[in-house]
């Protein structure tokens, strides 16, 4: 497989994986700016920042997916099918649009209706 196709597949895999992990929001360390300290557990009433841990998970998983997909695509010897670029575009752009829509809908339901 050509180097360009390997990069295309790896970029798509990274974007999709980061979007899925960001939406799933697995347990992550929380930063408390007034202490200042990192903790895994939530402290009631404290000013907490979940964004750093959640972002770190999604970005790290995206980078890992990029590496794995790039390596796996390198093992394929034949040329990619002609529909691959459009499929990768639909998958990558679609997953990013869905993740953005999910975040907007979630925050709307949490904050905008208070």
């Amino acid at each position: 497989m050509r180097a360009e196709d390997r990069v295309g597949i790896a970029v798509c895999a990274a974007v999709v994986t980061a979007c899925v992990v960001h939406v799933m929001a697995p347990s992550a360390p929380i930063y408390y700016p007034l202490d200042p300290a990192w903790r895994w557990e939530k402290v009631p009433g404290g000013v907490a920042m979940h964004w750093y841990g959640r972002s770190a998970w999604s970005l790290a998983s995206g980078v890992l997916a990029f590496g794995l997909a790039h390596f796996a695509a390198g093992l394929v010897r034949r040329d990619p099918p002609r529909w691959l670029p459009r499929a990768l575009a639909a998958l990558g752009v679609g997953s990013l649009a869905l993740a953005l829509a999910f975040v907007a809908q979630h925050e709307w339901s949490v904050w905008m209706t208070r």
Partner: protein, 153 residues
């Protein structure tokens, strides 16, 4: 004591400068891509976008603790909770757009070594990611500016 609070205004100003650079680079990138997908200047704009986005993301991360305490916890959460919602969307969108920006840079690299008539194979993904990143940048710039009119760091 909040980390980086003593020079948060300088960091915030640099964050603003980097955001404007991101917007300019992304507009140029999309204009070049829609006119011709074999324009080598696409790579230049993608590289500028990557550097500026990394800068705006890093600076925003450094400003965030002060904003979280002095603006959000002390003011927005109590008076304008919907503004907190806008800010949360902005921050999550910024993270979601980071890897696509890196991807735009990587996907535009083949343009340097291709002939004038040969478009890169993954130009649909390149254009699609660029348009979504542009939407995120415009939204984040508008929200960032508007929140600054309510209260800033």
């Amino acid at each position: 004591m909040i980390v980086f609070e003593s020079f948060v205004k300088v960091l915030h100003f640099l964050h603003w400068v980097a955001a404007i650079t991101c917007l300019a680079a992304c507009v140029h990138l999309i204009v070049r891509l829609t006119k011709s997908r074999v324009d080598r200047r696409v790579y230049l704009h993608a590289r500028t976008l990557l550097v500026a986005y990394l800068a705006v993301y890093t600076l925003g991360s450094l400003v965030y603790p002060t904003f979280r305490v002095r603006v959000r916890a002390e003011f927005l959460d109590r008076v304008y909770p919907w503004a907190t919602g806008l800010f949360e969307v902005k921050e999550h969108a910024a993270t979601l757009a980071l890897l696509p920006v890196v991807g735009i840079f990587l996907l535009s690299r083949p343009l340097l070594s291709r002939s004038e008539r040969q478009a890169p194979p993954h130009s649909p993904l390149l254009l699609g990611l660029s348009v979504l990143v542009m939407c995120v940048l415009v939204f984040n710039a508008c929200v960032g500016w508007y929140l600054g009119t309510l209260r800033s760091v």
